[in-house]
């Protein structure tokens, strides 16, 4: 597919999502056939725009600290001082990723109760692993020659880290953030089963009341958001990769 075509496709998807969020009424005729007779075709218990914003806020609130902490941890275990933790941290990442997001979410509820907190915790914990894994891969996968050359120019360990290693590892780190964000967006949808405010609410309301119109609008909206986010971040990491 040609670049301008892909660009137009992206623009159209974003425009469609925005149109649906700001004037959902315009889409009523399309959704009406899927709603049971007499039931509303557009979700009416909360504004779709509000739900989308709080959905995205939860994701950001979990992934920003997850990124900071996991990048810091990955830097630590890739330095000589933390090298002892390297094999263990790899094992923990492997084991941790076998835990299903739903289980993490459900297990957080007995500890912190219902609402936004269990979702935030699950999203945060789940976000750590891919970013940590990718940062570590990015930092340890550098050509030894690069590190040697940097050393040869007389750079200190700190300078090498910030001026050479991290910039070179950036595309791989961003790829990890992208994976975490997409998982978080999906897990936040499940968060609605524990009363977090988000778009999952629309789908679950639809499932509970047999209203396929709700299921479709919630599903298409979250699906479109995930695709836009995944695609946009992919573009950003391609740009950083091309630059470095």
């Amino acid at each position: 597919m040609s670049r301008p075509f892909v660009f137009l496709l992206r623009l159209a998807l974003v425009a469609l999502v925005l149109a649906f969020l700001f004037v959902p009424e315009a889409f009523r005729p399309l959704l009406e056939p899927f709603a049971p007779v007499g039931a509303p075709a557009i979700y009416d218990r909360a504004s779709l725009l509000d739900l989308t914003i709080s959905h995205l806020l939860i994701v950001v609130a979990a992934i920003v600290p997850a990124t900071l902490i996991s990048v810091a941890l990955a830097i630590l275990v890739s330095r000589p001082i933390g090298a002892e933790f390297l094999p263990l941290s790899r094992a923990i990442v492997n084991i941790g990723q076998t835990f299903p997001p739903v289980a993490v979410l459900a297990l957080a509820v007995p500890v912190v109760g219902f609402g936004t907190w269990p979702t935030l915790i699950a999203l945060f914990l789940y976000g750590l692993l891919p970013i940590f894994e990718n940062t570590l891969a990015g930092l340890t996968g550098l050509q030894p020659a690069v590190a040697e050359a940097a050393k040869g120019t007389g750079m200190t360990g700190r300078q090498r880290l910030f001026q050479v290693e991290l910039p070179l590892a950036l595309p791989v780190i961003l790829e990890g953030v992208r994976i975490s964000l997409v998982i978080a967006l999906s897990t936040a949808t499940i968060g609605s089963t524990v009363a977090a405010k988000g778009l999952g609410e629309v789908i679950i309301a639809g499932l509970n009341s047999n209203n396929l119109a709700f299921v479709l609008q919630g599903g298409l909206l979250t699906g479109a958001l995930a695709v836009i986010l995944y695609d946009g971040l992919g573009e950003i990491s391609r740009m950083t990769a091309a630059r470095s």
Binding site: L88, T189, T193, V215, L216, G218, L229
Partner: protein
């Protein structure tokens, strides 16, 4: 002179010490009443409490100052075993002077100690650098220990098993549904994904579009995909003759199966293609030189060489499917998710655990077993 304490042993030892001070068990007058904390010496007979304390202190000492990995594995493992048995003893003792409806569950101290011990054990295993057979052996031993504790009824007084007795019949039925969905969709994904992988390995033109379409499907949140598939499948059930007779319905297992299948395609297709393109050209040329046809080359040379990478795809899919199958419960597809979501609905922690723990255990077992199988294969990266 005291040697320098181990870098990992220090925090984990500290965590274990904190865990000893926290409540070992929690007691509730009935299933949904507020929990009351019970400390180590309140929850256990004095002998048990002292034994557990001694083992924990020994573990802390080993974690701090002992180097040989075998000892670092054995001591925390024994402590963990004792902890697992002790929680059953604690539950029996607390239940003995409680009402019939009382519930005893592991407390924060138990979970924290279990966590610290698991990290120490994992660290020791990693330091031992075990081969695939040793890993499987350790795993089988751990599984056998848990099974023995369950079968001998050592945990019967614990609240999660009280919950199990209330749901015994449905537990195994939902478990069977869970496995059917996870393995069934895996089988379908292998049957479709491997040929597609071979196809895109041979056609560079198809590769990009196929892989990006499949990754787009993977980005769609699971509840959304499960839910949206209800629409086309209801239509098929209503309009295609014979479809509803073979069990295709808008809700239930059919949309769950299709959703899991769609999610599974990307790892299968991508790994098949990656495995095939990793086969060195000199090998395929040699095979061609021996007069093997393209089909023979594929079946007897390329696919066997690509097998470790393809199996890595199977591992990803299986672990992912076991986890995602929990979502199927939301659309009436059954599985362990049924208990998770019922438990969330009733704010019944034990019911949540009854669904979540088997799911986590299954996913973990699938990962350990398949990782070992992949390492055993010839040509696997050591």
């Amino acid at each position: 002179m005291i040697p320098r304490p181990d870098k990992l042993g220090a925090p984990m030892g500290a965590l274990l010490a904190v865990a000893l001070a926290l409540p070992l068990a929690s007691y509730r007058a009935n299933r949904i009443a507020l929990a009351e904390a019970r400390g180590l010496f309140e929850a256990l007979p004095a002998v048990w409490a002292a034994a557990l304390l001694a083992c924990a202190v020994a573990t802390i000492a080993v974690a701090l100052f002992v180097r040989p990995p075998a000892i670092r594995l054995a001591v925390p493992a024994l402590t963990l075993l004792l902890l697992l048995i002790a929680i059953g003893v604690a539950a029996r003792m607390l239940m003995a002077n409680g009402a019939d409806y009382a519930r005893v569950a592991p407390g924060t101290g138990f979970w924290l100690a279990g966590f610290a011990l698991s990290i120490l054990i994992t660290d020791a295993i990693v330091r031992l650098k075990p081969g695939p057979f040793l890993r499987l052996g350790v795993f089988a031993l751990a599984a056998a220990a848990i099974a023995a504790i369950l079968v001998t009824g050592e945990w019967n007084a614990l609240s999660i098993l009280a919950e199990y007795r209330g749901h015994a019949a449905t537990f195994w039925r939902e478990g069977a549904h869970h496995l059917q969905l996870a393995f069934g969709s895996l089988a379908a994904a292998i049957a479709a994904g491997v040929p597609i992988g071979i196809l895109i390995h041979r056609s560079e033109r198809l590769k990009g579009p196929v892989l990006s379409t499949l990754s787009l499907i993977q980005t769609i949140p699971s509840i959304a995909l499960f839910g949206m598939l209800i629409v086309p499948l209801s239509w098929v059930a209503a309009n295609v003759p014979g479809a509803s007779e073979i069990g295709i319905r808008g809700i239930g297992m059919a949309p769950a199966f299709v959703a899991l299948f769609l999610y599974s395609l990307l790892p299968m297709v991508a790994n098949t293609a990656a495995g095939l393109s990793g086969v060195s050209p000199s090998v395929t040329e040699a095979a061609a030189g021996m007069g093997l046809t393209s089909r023979q080359r594929l079946i007897s040379v390329e696919l066997p060489l690509a097998l470790p990478v393809i199996l890595t795809g199977v591992r990803i899919v299986l672990v992912q499917n076991i986890g995602l199958t929990t979502i199927a419960a939301l659309i009436g597809g059954g599985g362990f998710g049924t208990f998770v979501f019922q438990g969330l609905g009733q704010t019944a922690t034990d019911l949540i655990l009854l669904g979540a723990l088997p799911t986590v255990a299954l996913a973990f077992a699938a990962a350990v077993v398949l990782d070992a199988v992949i390492d055993v294969l010839p040509g696997a990266k050591a």
